[in-house]
Subunit: 198 residues, 2 copies
């Protein structure tokens, strides 16, 4: 079809999540056609990020600065710490703009199946941050999966005895959720956690 | 969520066809995590293509060389010319590996609605190539759409009188097509063009 360089670019793009060989080829064609308006800006944006890429030594977030923009933001409340499994969870929560504290990225979840124990996750660094003091609340924002909840449970045990309030995300109906389409587990949880109408 | 540079990269990726804001963020996270195995190769592949990007003066293909790899390939049959609407069509046909001639990219299709006439397409250059001689067959490989077929019809008229055999792609059932799921137009065309069983 095209030169080896173009084939290589399509192959590199096809490895991105969400793109297959077909959509990667469409993306390449798009870039080739829009050299100035799309190709150049994309390459420059990539170069800028790649040149400055760093993992935050404090929280584990990925950013173009270390410590990351969240850890160094003076408007953030240092007394509130939200523990998440992955960087993607941090980004997702932060998009809600509701949490104004700081984060701690574990880098995964406890999994007997995959042989992932506490020593493979950022647990020791979390305990160290909490032990250092100055933190009032730790939000255990694990996924609502078996492994996520196991991890939250384990962290709650490890953090026992420290003078912090432990909280976790509410579980129940998702926004816009229709009962008819929700799984039984969600419905059961929503029923169990039902609240009085104010 | 993240630094401005990372946001900019996500925005640039989200403009690619097939990627939206959500999948672009996932792609960015993937790149940040796989800096050496995915991010660097992708940036380098992009740089190589962007540095050498060119449109073939002969056929209109996009490649990293001009004339393109197909026009300069001595194993290609110069007597057979396949006319397509877009570069993407050229790539798609060439993946079938069945056509071993050369191509001519029109850069679009005739469209009264969009105000696209023959002068907006590579029609004059096609006529010039055919008039130059040395071509036995011109395959009009337009899309099986109204505009594509109008374009093919127009080209057939313009090429009348030149000593070339004009052909077009067969229309009928697509491979794996189930009658129950095919539209009436396709079925009517497959019936009209039915062939004796050999």
């Amino acid at each position: 079809m095209a030169s080896q360089e173009i084939e290589d670019l399509a192959a590199a793009l096809a490895r991105l999540p969400g793109l297959g060989p077909r959509s990667a080829r469409r993306a390449v064609l798009y870039l080739l056609k829009k050299r100035e308006s799309a190709f150049t800006p994309l390459v420059e944006a990539m170069e800028r990020v790649r040149a400055n890429l760093a993992t935050c030594d404090i929280c584990g977030n990925v950013d173009t600065q270390n410590p990351c923009g969240i850890c160094t933001d003076p408007r953030r409340d240092p007394r509130s710490l939200c523990v998440v499994e992955e960087v993607s969870d941090l980004w997702a929560l932060d998009r809600s703009r509701l949490f104004v504290g700081r984060y701690h990225v574990l880098g995964g979840r406890l999994s007997a199946l995959d042989g992932i124990g506490p020593e493979d996750l950022g647990v020791a660094s979390l305990i160290a941050r909490v032990a250092e003091g100055g933190i009032d609340e730790v939000v255990l924002a694990m996924n609502a999966t078996l492994e996520g909840q196991t991890t939250a449970h384990y962290l709650a045990e490890r953090l026992e005895g420290y003078p912090v309030r432990l909280t976790q995300l509410a579980q129940g109906l998702p926004m816009g959720g229709e009962l008819d389409y929700l799984d039984e587990g969600t419905l059961a949880q929503a029923l169990r956690a039902r609240k009085p109408v104010v």
